[in-house]
């Protein structure tokens, strides 16, 4: 009898183990990979509470966004590039490259690997490129959410997206001081596929935001972005709906096409650059209102001048409003963190430590963050002097560990 009971209990244990197994394995990976909707943006634009996202009139609009995105850009296993008026994708994205980066991990007979994004990027940046991969909550800084199309470390003016080279550089070099590693182990071809796929995810995310924005500003509750049944009933409105969607997509893509030719030229530094007088001039400028560096980076350049600001990604979560924030967190957003001005005493430069990298940072600012572009009144030579000063900061006495005082062992006794 005892044995019977044991068997029963054992059966129960086994049953629960099996269920646990299901939870762990079947959980999220078994169904086809899907892009997740940007519910945080929808919540911030369309409704006053998470509950309202489930209202039928909001739901149909969100389903429209999902279906239109799938129509234009495809799915994680089958990316697409739509035909758009006046847009030639080829210099920016090619479908065969996207197909190589997308889909499940594997390799073909020739040994060419595909599914590169899921092999190398997805754990942090997520299937959707929303920066919400499983490792994301444990990283500081959080992985980039591509869906705003904003990239920090680039060579183009504030308004424009990065060039291809900019993204290649990040993949090659990684980002110092963050969890983003270098991908020098990949071939140039593989990195090209990934650069294109990241661009594709960014554009897809931007179109999604633009569609939600269109709903929020121009459509009445329940009104559709595209209603296929209007084709016969109201052909004019139907045509207008299609045109609006096409225009939104084309407007999103065109700055990306423009960016490649808009790299900010970096002039050579002045003759006396990086001399003590150049460093002194940089130091003077650091505190002037012409450059205003010390306002945020602090008088000692420790990054302590402005420590309660947020970046654009975080501001969307209304971190100053606890009730709203709670709802955004429930939608999967990550706990907000302040954006801190760089501590310039450390000598860690996320966007690259070459003088040319620092020139771009100062000249054009850092998109999505409080770091502004230099005033048009700040000359290029002055920017070079600031760079000289900034590069000297990690080696200033104040930045070094306390000097060892020579001591006589006998005295210590």
């Amino acid at each position: 009898m005892n044995r019977q009971v044991d068997r029963k209990t054992l059966g129960s244990y086994l049953g629960s183990l099996a269920l646990l197994g299901l939870a762990v394995f079947a959980g999220c990976d078994a169904p086809k990979a899907q892009f997740q909707p940007n519910l945080v943006y929808a919540r911030s634009r369309l409704v006053e509470s998470n509950e309202d996202l489930s209202k039928p009139e909001v739901r149909v609009q969100l389903e429209d966004v999902a279906d239109i995105l799938a129509a234009l850009m495809g799915t994680p296993d089958e990316p697409r590039l739509p035909a758009l008026p006046d847009i030639d994708w080829s210099p920016l994205l090619q479908l065969d490259q996207l197909q190589r980066a997308a889909g499940p991990v594997g390799s073909d007979e020739s040994g060419t690997e595909h599914g590169l994004y899921r092999q190398h990027c997805v754990h942090c940046h997520g299937i959707t490129g929303d920066g919400l991969g499983p490792t994301a909550p444990f990283l500081n800084p959080y992985p980039r959410d591509y869906r705003r199309g904003l990239f920090k470390f680039k060579s183009t003016p504030t308004t424009l997206p990065p060039t291809k080279d900019d993204l290649h550089r990040i993949l090659r070099e990684g980002i110092a001081g963050t969890a983003m590693p270098s991908f020098k182990v990949l071939t140039e071809d593989e990195r090209e596929a990934l650069v294109q796929y990241v661009t594709y995810l960014a554009i897809r995310g931007q179109i999604e935001r633009a569609l939600i924005y269109e709903i929020s500003e121009n459509l009445d509750p329940g009104q559709r972005l595209i209603d296929l049944t209007l084709k016969e009933k109201d052909p004019d409105l139907y045509q207008e709906q299609l045109d609006v969607v096409l225009a939104i997509a084309a407007d999103t893509v065109s700055p990306w096409l423009e960016a490649d030719s808009q790299m900010t030229e970096v002039p050579p530094p002045p003759e006396n650059w990086n001399t003590p007088e150049s460093i002194a001039e940089g130091k003077r400028l650091f505190f002037t209102s012409l450059a205003s560096c010390s306002k945020c980076h602090g008088d000692l350049a420790l990054g302590d001048g402005q420590t309660n600001d947020y970046d654009e990604w975080t501001k969307e979560l209304q971190p100053g409003n606890p009730d709203a924030l709670k709802e955004f967190l429930a939608l999967g957003a990550l706990e907000p963190r302040h954006i801190l001005p760089r501590n310039l005493r450390k000598g860690v430069y996320r966007g690259g430590r070459r003088p040319v990298d620092l020139f771009w940072r100062i000249k054009n600012g850092i998109p999505g963050t409080p770091m502004p572009a230099a005033s048009q009144e700040l000359t290029n030579d002055q920017i070079w002097h600031l760079i000289a000063y900034v590069r000297s900061l990690p080696f200033d006495a104040i930045a070094l560990p306390r000097q060892h005082k020579p001591s006589v062992p006998r005295e210590r006794l």
Partner: protein
Amino acid sequence: MRIRALVGSGCCVLGAAILAVAGCGPGAGPKIQVDLDRADAIRSALRRAAGAGEEEGGEEEVAEPTGFATLVGRIRFEGTVPAPKQLRVDKDVEVCRPGGRPVLSQEFVVNSENRGLKNVLIFVSSKIPSGDPKWEHESYLAQREALLTGDKAFDQKACRFLAHVYAMRSTQTLEIINSDPVGHNVKIDPPTTKVASTNVTVPANGGKATWKPGGESNVPVSVACNIHPWMSAYILPRDNPFFAVTDENGGFRIDYVPAGVELEFRVWQERIGFVSGSVTLNGQTIKLSKGRIKKVKLEPDQETSWEFVFTDALFD
């Protein structure tokens, strides 16, 4: 024995619970599923439309204006005026809080004498050909690509943007000035890629920067300064010139509005965004949805007056 069985089945329940919780997505939101068949149908429709656009292009005949009209008006507020929020000014206080006086939010400014509501935007939202002399009076055409400078510049003093709500044409260039003895940065983050973003340092004592929106938006874009985070303003960039911001008496005026054609106007206020709900227009109650006043047809060479009353119910 019973207890053991209970423990066993408890484990089962636990397992099931984990299965349910571990689920997939983040949780609280609705599950939005893609309908792949519908996506296919939309794809073919869009492909046809993209192709058609290239071939035909502007085949549609639109009605043309028969002249120009003037629109004037005033917005009055009725009801309890909410106490303005006090802003936290904690930096450069000698400049930003002159005399130590509290700095108040300009989100909702009502004139205490005539109850005029300041900083309300009212603009033509219909699609209108930009730069077309049939639609635009020559005084507008002359200013179409102007540099907005002098008294039209976007100035800041005592860590406030002097124009809290501002409107301009997307083809114009705005001069941004800093009349403070401390440095500012001006950060403009449009919610749409059609409008150029910017974030630029503006040096003290008359330092300048420029910004050209390049495209239009239906909602004003927000302007901020990261050095002084309490500073805020809004700029509406429009392709056409038919817009106004109410002054300290709640008054507005738009000259040379295309007459004899049906236009749509929209009304926006910072606190509530596009005005939705019942308002009184020239004594009649009308209901606005997303700030829209539809099918407005003005008589050429006439002056039309719109007297609005907004009540506190709108702002609840």
